[in-house]
Protein backbone atom coordinates (compact mmCIF):
# COMPACT_ATOMS: atom_id res chain seq x y z
CA UNK A 1 0.00 0.00 0.00
CA UNK A 2 1.39 3.45 -0.80
CA UNK A 3 1.89 6.20 1.73
CA UNK A 4 -1.52 7.60 2.60
CA UNK A 5 -2.68 10.84 4.13
CA UNK A 6 -4.28 9.70 7.40
CA UNK A 7 -5.39 11.36 10.58
CA UNK A 8 -4.02 9.82 13.77
CA UNK A 9 -7.43 8.33 14.48
CA UNK A 10 -7.62 6.69 11.05
CA UNK A 11 -4.08 5.38 11.59
CA UNK A 12 -5.36 3.64 14.74
CA UNK A 13 -8.31 2.18 12.81
CA UNK A 14 -6.05 0.80 10.07
CA UNK A 15 -3.75 -0.73 12.69
CA UNK A 16 -6.72 -2.40 14.37
CA UNK A 17 -7.81 -3.80 11.00
CA UNK A 18 -4.31 -5.07 10.24
CA UNK A 19 -4.06 -6.69 13.69
CA UNK A 20 -7.16 -8.74 12.77
CA UNK A 21 -9.05 -7.57 15.84
CA UNK A 22 -12.22 -9.59 16.39
CA UNK A 23 -14.21 -7.55 18.90
CA UNK A 24 -14.52 -3.78 19.26
CA UNK A 25 -16.71 -1.86 21.68
CA UNK A 26 -16.54 1.83 22.42
CA UNK A 27 -18.67 4.78 23.38
CA UNK A 28 -18.33 8.00 21.36
CA UNK A 29 -16.35 10.85 22.89
CA UNK A 30 -14.43 13.70 21.27
CA UNK A 31 -11.69 13.42 20.05
CA UNK A 32 -11.82 9.61 19.94
CA UNK A 33 -15.06 9.11 18.01
CA UNK A 34 -13.64 8.91 14.49
CA UNK A 35 -11.52 5.86 15.42
CA UNK A 36 -14.56 3.73 16.06
CA UNK A 37 -16.52 5.36 13.24
CA UNK A 38 -13.80 4.30 10.81
CA UNK A 39 -13.64 0.79 12.28
CA UNK A 40 -17.42 0.43 11.99
CA UNK A 41 -17.20 1.56 8.38
CA UNK A 42 -14.49 -0.99 7.63
CA UNK A 43 -16.50 -3.76 9.28
CA UNK A 44 -19.59 -2.72 7.33
CA UNK A 45 -17.67 -2.78 4.03
CA UNK A 46 -16.31 -6.23 4.83
CA UNK A 47 -12.71 -5.01 5.02
CA UNK A 48 -12.51 -6.22 8.58
CA UNK A 49 -14.00 -9.32 10.18
CA UNK A 50 -15.02 -8.09 13.62
CA UNK A 51 -17.99 -7.66 15.88
CA UNK A 52 -18.69 -4.08 16.89
CA UNK A 53 -20.71 -4.08 20.10
CA UNK A 54 -22.86 -1.07 20.88
CA UNK A 55 -22.73 -0.14 24.54
CA UNK A 56 -24.28 2.48 26.79
CA UNK A 57 -21.11 3.84 28.42
CA UNK A 58 -17.33 3.61 28.56
CA UNK A 59 -17.58 1.44 31.66
CA UNK A 60 -19.54 -1.05 29.57
CA UNK A 61 -17.25 -0.59 26.56
CA UNK A 62 -14.19 -1.79 28.42
CA UNK A 63 -16.21 -4.42 30.28
CA UNK A 64 -17.38 -5.79 26.93
CA UNK A 65 -13.93 -6.01 25.34
CA UNK A 66 -12.46 -7.32 28.60
CA UNK A 67 -15.04 -10.10 28.52
CA UNK A 68 -14.37 -10.81 24.85
CA UNK A 69 -10.62 -10.89 25.48
CA UNK A 70 -11.07 -13.21 28.46
CA UNK A 71 -13.03 -15.45 26.13
CA UNK A 72 -10.15 -15.65 23.67
CA UNK A 73 -10.81 -12.81 21.20
CA UNK A 74 -8.36 -10.13 20.14
CA UNK A 75 -10.23 -7.05 21.30
CA UNK A 76 -9.89 -3.27 21.18
CA UNK A 77 -11.49 -0.15 22.59
CA UNK A 78 -10.75 3.56 22.53
CA UNK A 79 -11.68 6.54 24.65
CA UNK A 80 -10.59 9.95 25.95
CA UNK A 81 -10.79 12.22 28.96
CA UNK A 82 -14.05 11.82 30.89
CA UNK A 83 -14.70 8.58 29.04
CA UNK A 84 -11.50 7.13 30.46
CA UNK A 85 -12.47 8.28 33.94
CA UNK A 86 -15.85 6.63 33.57
CA UNK A 87 -14.22 3.31 32.62
CA UNK A 88 -11.52 3.67 35.25
CA UNK A 89 -12.71 0.85 37.50
CA UNK A 90 -12.64 -1.66 34.66
CA UNK A 91 -9.08 -0.65 33.69
CA UNK A 92 -7.97 -2.11 37.05
CA UNK A 93 -9.99 -5.27 36.50
CA UNK A 94 -8.50 -5.88 33.06
CA UNK A 95 -4.93 -5.36 34.25
CA UNK A 96 -5.37 -7.33 37.46
CA UNK A 97 -6.89 -10.22 35.52
CA UNK A 98 -3.77 -10.25 33.28
CA UNK A 99 -5.89 -10.26 30.12
CA UNK A 100 -4.10 -9.02 26.97
CA UNK A 101 -6.04 -6.10 25.52
CA UNK A 102 -5.34 -2.90 23.59
CA UNK A 103 -6.92 0.52 24.00
CA UNK A 104 -6.27 3.88 22.36
CA UNK A 105 -6.54 6.95 24.54
CA UNK A 106 -6.83 10.16 22.56
CA UNK A 107 -5.48 12.52 25.17
CA UNK A 108 -7.73 15.37 26.22
CA UNK A 109 -8.06 17.71 29.18
CA UNK A 110 -10.40 16.85 32.03
CA UNK A 111 -13.12 19.26 33.12
CA UNK A 112 -14.39 21.36 34.60
CA UNK A 113 -14.44 23.63 32.73
CA UNK A 114 -15.53 21.63 29.71
CA UNK A 115 -12.68 21.36 27.25
CA UNK A 116 -11.98 19.09 24.29
CA UNK A 117 -8.34 20.04 23.75
CA UNK A 118 -5.14 18.15 24.39
CA UNK A 119 -3.32 17.58 27.62
CA UNK A 120 -2.10 14.44 29.38
CA UNK A 121 -4.15 14.57 32.55
CA UNK A 122 -6.39 11.71 31.40
CA UNK A 123 -3.81 9.14 30.30
CA UNK A 124 -1.65 9.80 33.36
CA UNK A 125 -4.42 8.37 35.57
CA UNK A 126 -3.47 4.95 34.16
CA UNK A 127 0.01 5.03 35.72
CA UNK A 128 -0.87 2.85 38.71
CA UNK A 129 -3.36 0.50 37.05
CA UNK A 130 -1.03 -2.12 35.57
CA UNK A 131 -1.57 -1.03 31.96
CA UNK A 132 1.44 -0.53 29.74
CA UNK A 133 1.21 3.14 28.80
CA UNK A 134 2.74 4.43 25.55
CA UNK A 135 2.68 7.81 23.81
CA UNK A 136 3.22 8.59 20.12
CA UNK A 137 4.74 11.66 18.52
CA UNK A 138 3.53 11.20 14.92
CA UNK A 139 0.67 9.50 13.08
CA UNK A 140 3.05 6.92 11.62
CA UNK A 141 4.11 6.01 15.12
CA UNK A 142 0.46 5.78 16.17
CA UNK A 143 -0.10 3.07 13.58
CA UNK A 144 3.14 1.24 14.37
CA UNK A 145 2.60 1.39 18.15
CA UNK A 146 -0.96 0.11 17.89
CA UNK A 147 0.14 -2.97 15.94
CA UNK A 148 3.05 -3.49 18.34
CA UNK A 149 0.72 -3.12 21.31
CA UNK A 150 -1.03 -6.41 20.52
CA UNK A 151 2.30 -8.21 20.29
CA UNK A 152 3.59 -6.71 23.55
CA UNK A 153 0.35 -7.26 25.47
CA UNK A 154 0.03 -10.87 24.28
CA UNK A 155 3.64 -11.79 25.00
CA UNK A 156 3.66 -14.58 27.66
CA UNK A 157 6.34 -12.69 29.57
CA UNK A 158 3.97 -9.73 29.86
CA UNK A 159 0.24 -10.56 29.70
CA UNK A 160 -0.82 -7.04 30.61
CA UNK A 161 -3.16 -4.70 28.72
CA UNK A 162 -1.59 -1.84 26.79
CA UNK A 163 -2.74 1.65 25.99
CA UNK A 164 -1.58 3.70 23.00
CA UNK A 165 -1.73 7.43 23.69
CA UNK A 166 -2.14 9.91 20.86
CA UNK A 167 -2.64 13.61 21.39
CA UNK A 168 -6.18 14.88 20.85
CA UNK A 169 -6.57 16.87 17.61
CA UNK A 170 -2.82 17.45 17.30
CA UNK A 171 -2.53 13.88 16.05
CA UNK A 172 -6.07 12.53 16.12
CA UNK A 173 -7.50 15.04 13.64
CA UNK A 174 -4.37 16.00 11.72
CA UNK A 175 -3.81 14.40 8.35
CA UNK A 176 -0.21 13.41 7.72
CA UNK A 177 1.59 10.82 5.61
CA UNK A 178 1.38 7.28 6.97
CA UNK A 179 2.97 4.22 5.42
CA UNK A 180 0.29 1.56 5.90
CA UNK A 181 1.94 -1.87 5.84
CA UNK A 182 0.59 -4.79 3.83
CA UNK A 183 -1.45 -7.41 5.67
CA UNK A 184 1.27 -10.05 5.10
CA UNK A 185 3.84 -7.92 6.89
CA UNK A 186 1.62 -7.54 9.93
CA UNK A 187 0.69 -11.25 9.85
CA UNK A 188 4.36 -12.14 9.90
CA UNK A 189 4.97 -9.80 12.82
CA UNK A 190 1.92 -10.61 14.92
CA UNK A 191 1.47 -14.26 15.92
CA UNK A 192 -1.99 -15.71 16.61
CA UNK A 193 -3.40 -14.52 19.90
CA UNK A 194 -1.85 -15.90 23.07
CA UNK A 195 -3.29 -15.42 26.52
CA UNK A 196 -2.77 -17.02 29.90
CA UNK A 197 -6.23 -18.56 30.19
CA UNK A 198 -9.52 -18.58 28.35
CA UNK A 199 -12.87 -18.30 30.03
CA UNK A 200 -15.69 -20.06 28.23
CA UNK A 201 -18.93 -21.82 29.18
CA UNK A 202 -16.93 -25.07 29.21
CA UNK A 203 -14.30 -23.87 31.66
CA UNK A 204 -15.21 -24.02 35.32
CA UNK A 205 -13.36 -20.79 36.00
CA UNK A 206 -14.21 -17.84 38.21
CA UNK A 207 -12.39 -14.54 37.72
CA UNK A 208 -11.97 -12.01 40.49
CA UNK A 209 -13.36 -14.06 43.33
CA UNK A 210 -12.02 -13.36 46.77
CA UNK A 211 -8.49 -14.63 47.35
CA UNK A 212 -6.41 -14.87 50.51
CA UNK A 213 -4.62 -11.58 51.24
CA UNK A 214 -1.15 -13.07 50.82
CA UNK A 215 -2.07 -14.45 47.39
CA UNK A 216 -3.47 -11.07 46.41
CA UNK A 217 -0.16 -9.56 47.53
CA UNK A 218 1.76 -12.02 45.35
CA UNK A 219 -0.45 -11.13 42.37
CA UNK A 220 0.57 -7.49 42.67
CA UNK A 221 4.20 -8.58 42.85
CA UNK A 222 3.76 -10.74 39.75
CA UNK A 223 2.27 -7.78 37.84
CA UNK A 224 5.18 -5.62 38.80
CA UNK A 225 7.61 -8.29 37.58
CA UNK A 226 5.69 -8.52 34.30
CA UNK A 227 6.12 -4.77 33.85
CA UNK A 228 9.86 -5.21 34.27
CA UNK A 229 9.81 -8.05 31.72
CA UNK A 230 7.86 -5.80 29.35
CA UNK A 231 10.88 -3.48 29.07
CA UNK A 232 12.83 -6.20 27.28
CA UNK A 233 9.86 -7.19 25.14
CA UNK A 234 9.33 -3.58 24.04
CA UNK A 235 12.95 -3.33 22.86
CA UNK A 236 12.70 -6.67 21.03
CA UNK A 237 9.47 -5.68 19.33
CA UNK A 238 10.99 -2.36 18.23
CA UNK A 239 13.90 -4.20 16.60
CA UNK A 240 11.69 -6.74 14.89
CA UNK A 241 9.32 -4.15 13.51
CA UNK A 242 12.35 -2.33 12.11
CA UNK A 243 13.45 -5.51 10.32
CA UNK A 244 10.09 -5.74 8.56
CA UNK A 245 9.35 -2.07 7.91
CA UNK A 246 12.61 -0.17 8.33
CA UNK A 247 11.03 1.95 11.05
CA UNK A 248 12.76 1.93 14.42
CA UNK A 249 11.93 4.27 17.26
CA UNK A 250 14.31 3.26 20.04
CA UNK A 251 12.01 1.19 22.26
CA UNK A 252 11.17 2.79 25.58
CA UNK A 253 12.67 6.19 24.73
CA UNK A 254 13.82 8.17 21.73
CA UNK A 255 16.91 10.29 22.22
CA UNK A 256 17.41 13.35 20.05
CA UNK A 257 20.96 14.71 20.06
CA UNK A 258 21.53 13.39 23.59
CA UNK A 259 25.10 12.14 23.18
CA UNK A 260 26.94 15.45 23.06
CA UNK A 261 24.34 17.42 25.03
CA UNK A 262 25.00 19.22 28.32
CA UNK A 263 21.30 19.52 29.08
CA UNK A 264 18.43 17.12 28.49
CA UNK A 265 14.78 18.07 28.08
CA UNK A 266 12.37 15.23 28.87
CA UNK A 267 9.01 15.17 27.09
CA UNK A 268 6.33 12.81 25.84
CA UNK A 269 3.76 12.96 23.05
CA UNK A 270 3.34 15.13 19.99
CA UNK A 271 4.84 18.32 21.41
CA UNK A 272 8.23 16.57 21.58
CA UNK A 273 8.72 17.65 17.95
CA UNK A 274 8.47 21.29 18.99
CA UNK A 275 10.84 20.62 21.90
CA UNK A 276 13.39 19.19 19.45
CA UNK A 277 13.17 22.35 17.39
CA UNK A 278 13.75 24.33 20.61
CA UNK A 279 16.85 22.22 21.31
CA UNK A 280 18.20 23.14 17.87
CA UNK A 281 17.50 26.82 18.57
CA UNK A 282 19.33 26.70 21.91
CA UNK A 283 22.33 24.95 20.39
CA UNK A 284 22.77 28.04 18.23
CA UNK A 285 22.82 30.10 21.43
CA UNK A 286 25.49 27.89 22.97
CA UNK A 287 23.34 25.73 25.25
CA UNK A 288 23.80 22.16 24.09
CA UNK A 289 20.40 20.56 24.49
CA UNK A 290 19.15 17.09 23.68
CA UNK A 291 15.58 15.82 23.96
CA UNK A 292 14.71 12.53 25.60
CA UNK A 293 11.24 11.59 24.42
CA UNK A 294 9.48 9.04 26.59
CA UNK A 295 7.64 6.59 24.34
CA UNK A 296 6.54 4.65 27.40
CA UNK A 297 5.37 6.01 30.74
CA UNK A 298 4.75 2.48 32.09
CA UNK A 299 6.91 0.54 32.42
CA UNK A 300 8.98 3.52 33.52
CA UNK A 301 12.26 3.57 31.54
CA UNK A 302 14.46 3.98 34.63
CA UNK A 303 17.67 2.57 33.15
CA UNK A 304 17.29 4.38 29.82
CA UNK A 305 16.74 7.72 31.52
CA UNK A 306 19.60 7.23 33.98
CA UNK A 307 21.91 6.38 31.07
CA UNK A 308 20.83 9.32 28.92
CA UNK A 309 21.36 11.93 31.64
CA UNK A 310 24.60 10.48 33.01
CA UNK A 311 27.19 13.25 33.29
CA UNK A 312 24.85 16.01 32.09
CA UNK A 313 24.59 19.42 33.76
CA UNK A 314 20.84 19.52 33.98
CA UNK A 315 17.51 17.90 33.21
CA UNK A 316 14.32 19.85 32.49
CA UNK A 317 11.04 17.95 32.43
CA UNK A 318 7.95 19.16 30.56
CA UNK A 319 4.69 17.85 31.98
CA UNK A 320 1.33 18.37 30.28
CA UNK A 321 -0.42 17.29 33.48
CA UNK A 322 -0.13 17.98 37.17
CA UNK A 323 -0.62 15.99 40.32
CA UNK A 324 -2.37 18.52 42.52
CA UNK A 325 -0.42 19.12 45.68
CA UNK A 326 2.72 17.65 44.20
CA UNK A 327 4.45 18.07 40.80
CA UNK A 328 3.99 17.03 37.21
CA UNK A 329 3.71 13.23 37.09
CA UNK A 330 6.70 12.73 34.77
CA UNK A 331 8.81 15.01 36.94
CA UNK A 332 8.06 12.92 40.01
CA UNK A 333 9.30 9.78 38.30
CA UNK A 334 12.35 11.50 36.84
CA UNK A 335 13.22 12.82 40.29
CA UNK A 336 13.28 9.33 41.83
CA UNK A 337 15.22 8.03 38.84
CA UNK A 338 17.93 10.61 39.50
CA UNK A 339 18.05 9.94 43.24
CA UNK A 340 21.54 10.45 44.58
CA UNK A 341 22.84 12.38 41.58
CA UNK A 342 23.84 16.01 41.65
CA UNK A 343 22.23 16.92 38.34
CA UNK A 344 20.21 20.12 38.29
CA UNK A 345 16.54 19.39 37.87
CA UNK A 346 13.52 21.43 36.94
CA UNK A 347 9.90 20.45 36.38
CA UNK A 348 7.84 22.61 34.04
CA UNK A 349 4.06 22.41 33.90
CA UNK A 350 2.85 23.74 30.55
CA UNK A 351 0.36 23.32 27.75
CA UNK A 352 -2.52 22.30 29.99
CA UNK A 353 -6.02 22.41 28.48
CA UNK A 354 -4.66 22.57 24.95
CA UNK A 355 -2.69 25.79 25.42
CA UNK A 356 -0.36 25.94 22.42
CA UNK A 357 3.34 25.33 23.01
CA UNK A 358 5.73 26.42 20.31
CA UNK A 359 9.45 25.81 20.05
CA UNK A 360 10.04 29.31 21.37
CA UNK A 361 8.01 28.54 24.52
CA UNK A 362 10.09 25.44 25.20
CA UNK A 363 13.21 27.46 24.42
CA UNK A 364 12.21 30.15 26.92
CA UNK A 365 12.00 27.67 29.80
CA UNK A 366 15.12 25.79 28.70
CA UNK A 367 17.15 29.01 28.36
CA UNK A 368 16.02 30.20 31.79
CA UNK A 369 16.93 26.85 33.36
CA UNK A 370 20.38 26.63 31.77
CA UNK A 371 21.33 30.20 32.60
CA UNK A 372 20.30 29.62 36.22
CA UNK A 373 22.40 26.46 36.38
CA UNK A 374 25.42 28.27 34.94
CA UNK A 375 25.03 31.16 37.37
CA UNK A 376 23.85 29.47 40.57
CA UNK A 377 25.26 25.96 40.36
CA UNK A 378 22.87 23.20 41.29
CA UNK A 379 19.21 24.06 40.67
CA UNK A 380 16.26 22.07 42.01
CA UNK A 381 12.90 23.52 40.96
CA UNK A 382 10.22 20.84 41.05
CA UNK A 383 7.18 22.83 39.96
CA UNK A 384 7.54 25.74 37.59
CA UNK A 385 4.31 26.90 35.97
CA UNK A 386 5.00 28.11 32.44
CA UNK A 387 1.86 30.19 32.06
CA UNK A 388 0.13 30.81 28.72
CA UNK A 389 2.13 33.39 26.77
CA UNK A 390 -0.10 36.39 27.45
CA UNK A 391 0.07 35.93 31.22
CA UNK A 392 3.76 35.06 31.44
CA UNK A 393 5.52 37.56 33.68
CA UNK A 394 2.34 39.67 33.93
CA UNK A 395 0.77 39.10 37.35
CA UNK A 396 -1.60 42.06 36.82
CA UNK A 397 -3.24 40.23 33.91
CA UNK A 398 -3.65 37.11 36.02
CA UNK A 399 -5.26 39.19 38.79
CA UNK A 400 -7.61 40.81 36.34
CA UNK A 401 -8.73 37.42 35.07
CA UNK A 402 -9.19 36.20 38.63
CA UNK A 403 -11.57 39.06 39.27
CA UNK A 404 -13.71 38.16 36.29
CA UNK A 405 -13.79 34.41 36.95
CA UNK A 406 -14.69 34.40 40.62
Amino acid sequence: MPIMGLTGNYAVAHAVRLARVQVVAAYPITPQTTIVEKISEMVEKGEMNARVIRVESEHSALAAVFGAASGGARAFTATASHGLLYMYEVTWWAAGARVPLVMAVVTRAIGPPWNIHVDHQDIMTLRDTGWIVSMAQENQEVLDLTIQAFRISEDPRVYLPMVVGLDGFILSHTRAPVDVPEQEVVDEFLPPRRQPYVISPETNLVMGNIAPDDIHFLMRYSMSEAMEAAKKVIEEVDREWAKLTGRRYGGLVECYKCEDADYIAITTGSWSGDAKKAADMLREEGYNYGVLRLRFIRPWPTEKIAMAVEGKKGVIVFDRAVSMGATGPIFADVAHTLYGSNISLMGVIAGLAGVDMKARDFAEAMRMFSSRVEEEGRVYEPRFWLLPRRYRGRPERVKEVAKRWS
Partner: protein, 183 residues
Protein backbone atom coordinates in the same frame (compact mmCIF):
# COMPACT_ATOMS: atom_id res chain seq x y z
CA UNK B 1 11.73 24.33 3.13
CA UNK B 2 8.64 24.49 5.34
CA UNK B 3 5.59 26.29 3.97
CA UNK B 4 2.70 27.12 6.30
CA UNK B 5 -0.74 27.80 4.89
CA UNK B 6 -4.00 29.01 6.43
CA UNK B 7 -7.37 28.59 4.74
CA UNK B 8 -10.26 30.92 5.55
CA UNK B 9 -13.77 29.86 4.66
CA UNK B 10 -17.24 29.44 5.99
CA UNK B 11 -18.49 26.21 7.51
CA UNK B 12 -19.63 24.10 4.56
CA UNK B 13 -17.35 25.61 1.91
CA UNK B 14 -14.81 22.85 2.38
CA UNK B 15 -11.80 24.63 3.87
CA UNK B 16 -10.86 21.55 5.93
CA UNK B 17 -11.14 19.30 2.88
CA UNK B 18 -8.99 21.76 0.92
CA UNK B 19 -6.22 21.44 3.52
CA UNK B 20 -6.52 17.64 3.47
CA UNK B 21 -6.38 17.46 -0.34
CA UNK B 22 -3.39 19.77 -0.39
CA UNK B 23 -1.51 17.42 1.92
CA UNK B 24 -2.47 14.40 -0.19
CA UNK B 25 -1.12 16.26 -3.24
CA UNK B 26 2.13 16.96 -1.39
CA UNK B 27 2.46 13.29 -0.38
CA UNK B 28 1.90 12.38 -4.04
CA UNK B 29 4.95 14.50 -4.88
CA UNK B 30 7.01 12.67 -2.27
CA UNK B 31 6.83 15.61 0.12
CA UNK B 32 5.60 15.73 3.70
CA UNK B 33 2.52 17.46 4.97
CA UNK B 34 0.21 18.14 7.88
CA UNK B 35 -3.40 19.25 7.57
CA UNK B 36 -5.46 20.20 10.57
CA UNK B 37 -8.72 21.96 11.32
CA UNK B 38 -9.15 24.71 13.85
CA UNK B 39 -9.92 22.75 16.97
CA UNK B 40 -13.25 24.08 18.08
CA UNK B 41 -16.95 23.89 17.46
CA UNK B 42 -17.79 24.61 13.81
CA UNK B 43 -21.08 25.18 12.06
CA UNK B 44 -22.38 25.86 8.58
CA UNK B 45 -21.97 29.48 7.51
CA UNK B 46 -19.71 30.60 10.37
CA UNK B 47 -16.16 31.72 9.58
CA UNK B 48 -13.77 28.77 9.86
CA UNK B 49 -10.06 28.24 9.38
CA UNK B 50 -7.98 25.23 8.46
CA UNK B 51 -4.23 24.81 8.31
CA UNK B 52 -1.60 22.97 6.33
CA UNK B 53 2.15 22.55 6.47
CA UNK B 54 4.14 21.32 3.46
CA UNK B 55 7.81 20.45 3.51
CA UNK B 56 10.37 18.39 1.64
CA UNK B 57 11.52 17.00 5.02
CA UNK B 58 9.51 15.20 7.74
CA UNK B 59 7.60 17.73 9.83
CA UNK B 60 8.14 17.32 13.56
CA UNK B 61 6.49 20.43 14.97
CA UNK B 62 2.85 20.21 16.01
CA UNK B 63 2.11 23.66 17.42
CA UNK B 64 -0.45 25.95 15.86
CA UNK B 65 0.41 28.08 12.82
CA UNK B 66 0.92 31.69 13.85
CA UNK B 67 2.75 33.26 10.91
CA UNK B 68 1.65 31.59 7.68
CA UNK B 69 3.48 32.03 4.39
CA UNK B 70 0.27 31.70 2.40
CA UNK B 71 -3.36 32.54 3.08
CA UNK B 72 -6.20 31.17 0.98
CA UNK B 73 -9.54 32.96 1.27
CA UNK B 74 -12.54 31.00 0.06
CA UNK B 75 -14.98 33.89 0.47
CA UNK B 76 -14.00 37.56 0.01
CA UNK B 77 -16.73 38.73 2.38
CA UNK B 78 -14.68 37.24 5.22
CA UNK B 79 -12.55 40.40 5.08
CA UNK B 80 -15.53 42.19 6.67
CA UNK B 81 -15.86 39.57 9.44
CA UNK B 82 -12.41 38.50 10.54
CA UNK B 83 -8.79 39.60 10.47
CA UNK B 84 -7.98 37.40 7.50
CA UNK B 85 -4.38 38.60 7.13
CA UNK B 86 -3.49 38.16 10.80
CA UNK B 87 0.11 36.99 11.21
CA UNK B 88 0.86 36.70 7.48
CA UNK B 89 4.61 36.94 6.92
CA UNK B 90 5.89 40.01 5.06
CA UNK B 91 6.11 39.14 1.38
CA UNK B 92 3.51 36.41 1.93
CA UNK B 93 0.96 35.31 -0.64
CA UNK B 94 -2.81 35.76 -0.45
CA UNK B 95 -5.08 33.86 -2.82
CA UNK B 96 -8.64 35.18 -2.81
CA UNK B 97 -11.91 34.04 -4.32
CA UNK B 98 -12.94 37.46 -5.61
CA UNK B 99 -14.25 39.21 -8.71
CA UNK B 100 -12.64 42.52 -7.82
CA UNK B 101 -9.66 43.77 -5.86
CA UNK B 102 -9.85 42.69 -2.22
CA UNK B 103 -9.12 45.21 0.58
CA UNK B 104 -5.47 44.29 1.16
CA UNK B 105 -2.63 46.70 1.90
CA UNK B 106 0.96 45.87 2.65
CA UNK B 107 3.87 43.90 1.38
CA UNK B 108 1.93 40.89 0.10
CA UNK B 109 1.46 39.19 -3.25
CA UNK B 110 -2.26 39.00 -3.88
CA UNK B 111 -3.93 36.72 -6.43
CA UNK B 112 -7.57 36.61 -7.44
CA UNK B 113 -9.87 34.14 -9.09
CA UNK B 114 -13.66 34.11 -9.43
CA UNK B 115 -13.99 30.67 -7.91
CA UNK B 116 -17.69 31.07 -7.20
CA UNK B 117 -18.40 31.50 -10.91
CA UNK B 118 -16.31 28.45 -11.81
CA UNK B 119 -18.08 26.35 -9.17
CA UNK B 120 -21.51 27.51 -10.32
CA UNK B 121 -20.64 26.94 -14.00
CA UNK B 122 -19.69 23.36 -13.17
CA UNK B 123 -22.62 22.76 -10.83
CA UNK B 124 -20.45 22.29 -7.75
CA UNK B 125 -23.23 23.23 -5.37
CA UNK B 126 -24.16 21.58 -2.08
CA UNK B 127 -27.37 22.60 -0.31
CA UNK B 128 -27.50 25.74 -2.45
CA UNK B 129 -23.91 26.76 -1.64
CA UNK B 130 -21.17 26.84 -4.26
CA UNK B 131 -18.31 24.67 -2.99
CA UNK B 132 -15.09 26.39 -3.99
CA UNK B 133 -12.42 24.41 -2.15
CA UNK B 134 -11.05 22.39 -5.08
CA UNK B 135 -11.25 25.48 -7.27
CA UNK B 136 -9.13 27.41 -4.81
CA UNK B 137 -6.56 24.61 -4.75
CA UNK B 138 -6.07 25.14 -8.50
CA UNK B 139 -5.64 28.85 -7.79
CA UNK B 140 -3.17 28.13 -4.96
CA UNK B 141 -1.09 25.94 -7.25
CA UNK B 142 -0.94 28.68 -9.90
CA UNK B 143 -0.15 31.47 -7.43
CA UNK B 144 2.52 29.68 -5.39
CA UNK B 145 3.57 26.42 -7.05
CA UNK B 146 3.66 24.86 -3.58
CA UNK B 147 2.30 21.73 -5.25
CA UNK B 148 1.70 21.08 -8.96
CA UNK B 149 -1.74 21.15 -10.58
CA UNK B 150 -1.46 17.50 -11.63
CA UNK B 151 -0.84 16.46 -8.01
CA UNK B 152 -3.90 18.40 -6.90
CA UNK B 153 -5.95 16.65 -9.56
CA UNK B 154 -4.50 13.33 -8.41
CA UNK B 155 -5.57 14.12 -4.83
CA UNK B 156 -9.05 15.17 -5.96
CA UNK B 157 -9.71 12.06 -8.06
CA UNK B 158 -8.23 9.85 -5.35
CA UNK B 159 -10.70 11.26 -2.81
CA UNK B 160 -13.76 11.76 -5.02
CA UNK B 161 -14.69 9.01 -7.43
CA UNK B 162 -16.45 9.29 -10.80
CA UNK B 163 -18.28 12.38 -12.01
CA UNK B 164 -17.66 14.31 -8.80
CA UNK B 165 -13.91 13.80 -9.16
CA UNK B 166 -14.03 14.92 -12.81
CA UNK B 167 -15.99 18.10 -12.07
CA UNK B 168 -13.74 19.08 -9.17
CA UNK B 169 -10.64 18.40 -11.26
CA UNK B 170 -12.06 20.57 -14.02
CA UNK B 171 -12.71 23.32 -11.45
CA UNK B 172 -9.08 23.19 -10.27
CA UNK B 173 -7.85 23.24 -13.87
CA UNK B 174 -10.01 26.25 -14.80
CA UNK B 175 -8.95 28.13 -11.69
CA UNK B 176 -5.32 27.41 -12.51
CA UNK B 177 -5.83 29.08 -15.89
CA UNK B 178 -7.82 32.05 -14.59
CA UNK B 179 -5.84 32.99 -11.46
CA UNK B 180 -4.02 36.31 -11.84
CA UNK B 181 -2.55 39.05 -9.67
CA UNK B 182 -5.58 41.07 -8.50
CA UNK B 183 -6.36 44.22 -10.40
Amino acid sequence: MLVEIRFHGRGGQGAVTAANLLVDAAIHEGKYGQAFPHFGAERRGAPVVAFARISDKPIQIHSQIENPDIIVVLDSRLFELTDVLSGLKPGGVVVVNSKGKPPIDGDFKVYCVDATKIALDLGLVVSGWPVVNTTMLGALSKATGVVGLESIIWAITNNFKGKLGELNSEAARRAFEETKPCS
